[in-house]
Symmetry: D3
Subunit: 76 residues, 6 copies
Amino acid sequence: MPFVSIRLAGAATREQKAGIVADVTASLVTRLGKSPAVVQVVIEEVSTENYGAGGHLLADRDGATGRGDAHAEPRR
Amino acid sequence: MPFVSIRLAGAATREQKAGIVADVTASLVTRLGKSPAVVQVVIEEVSTENYGAGGHLLADRDGATGRGDAHAEPRR
Amino acid sequence: MPFVSIRLAGAATREQKAGIVADVTASLVTRLGKSPAVVQVVIEEVSTENYGAGGHLLADRDGATGRGDAHAEPRR
Amino acid sequence: MPFVSIRLAGAATREQKAGIVADVTASLVTRLGKSPAVVQVVIEEVSTENYGAGGHLLADRDGATGRGDAHAEPRR
Amino acid sequence: MPFVSIRLAGAATREQKAGIVADVTASLVTRLGKSPAVVQVVIEEVSTENYGAGGHLLADRDGATGRGDAHAEPRR
Amino acid sequence: MPFVSIRLAGAATREQKAGIVADVTASLVTRLGKSPAVVQVVIEEVSTENYGAGGHLLADRDGATGRGDAHAEPRR
């Protein structure tokens, strides 16, 4: 019955999101012995105009323009 | 003072959302004796590309394409 | 797949919580045509020392003492 | 490490959001002695079609049309 | 800047929680190229008296007694 | 209608929480022109055994013992 909510600053690709869902589900299955079927994961891609850190909007901090490309370069 | 957050996979019609708000508010009024005025309800319609269950994105599981029509056929 | 989070100020009885879960699930089943099995509901009973409204902690506003009895008198 | 989530009914301007992030961060720094660097704030602008109060969608209550202008007139 | 909230039904051991934090952080680092330092994870252990699924409190469904031992037997 | 959720690592005093509620409410009143009456704020004090950052539980990182004293020294 675990329910997981993940808030990211900026967008992620569908492939990245699928990978995160798979990883997080596997962790809860392995660590807690839960069935994968009961694990739910929601990913919220938050615009950098709506995400603040250190007292500033990320959009103001790093010059991004809204629903930014913070994750544009997934690690390879 | 109850605050209710509801996350749905896919979209709902305005009529469906109005009905859910009415039902949930009525429940809290009846069960807890609260005034309807203090009950707040937020409904988040989550794209099936951002909602995972069973280790997979719903969009990959059921062939939906993003902000899907999971609730297109409300029960009558 | 709906996931519902309900935050209450103060405590509720087990019977009240069971009633709320039943009502909310029924609403989502009726309004959206979802299977009851996929509806998850979490109820958080927030101490009135941790819940603010109108600029003040509820505990300061109404003289309650923490994990209060805001719901002590369910409506009959 | 504080994490703050703010849900607004309707939209806010970038300037309003930047101001809220600055204010909330300053409060946590002052009240708790935290470093500003560890404070994260997410602002969710919820459509008035998805926000209910008093048993009704705000969009139905005040005639707004969805992602409304509830905050169109920031106080001066 | 990812922020992750995980709600579990019942309790988990400190070791289980540490493992989940490590796994989830590693996933976001790998999938999104984020620095581990910016990943925050909160785990909420929800009493089975406060967690409903299928229209019933888990505590009523499986005979658990509140802050239960749903995760007492982590998978080995 | 703003609803604010604040998650802190460790405990805060009642005075600290009252101050945060006052500050955050004032910010939303000033920035958005909202009535203070409609602003709700919930503060969740999360045990350092349930809060992870940088891939580790805070409790493991700084030797705290659970519902810690992360905020024991409010700034003066």
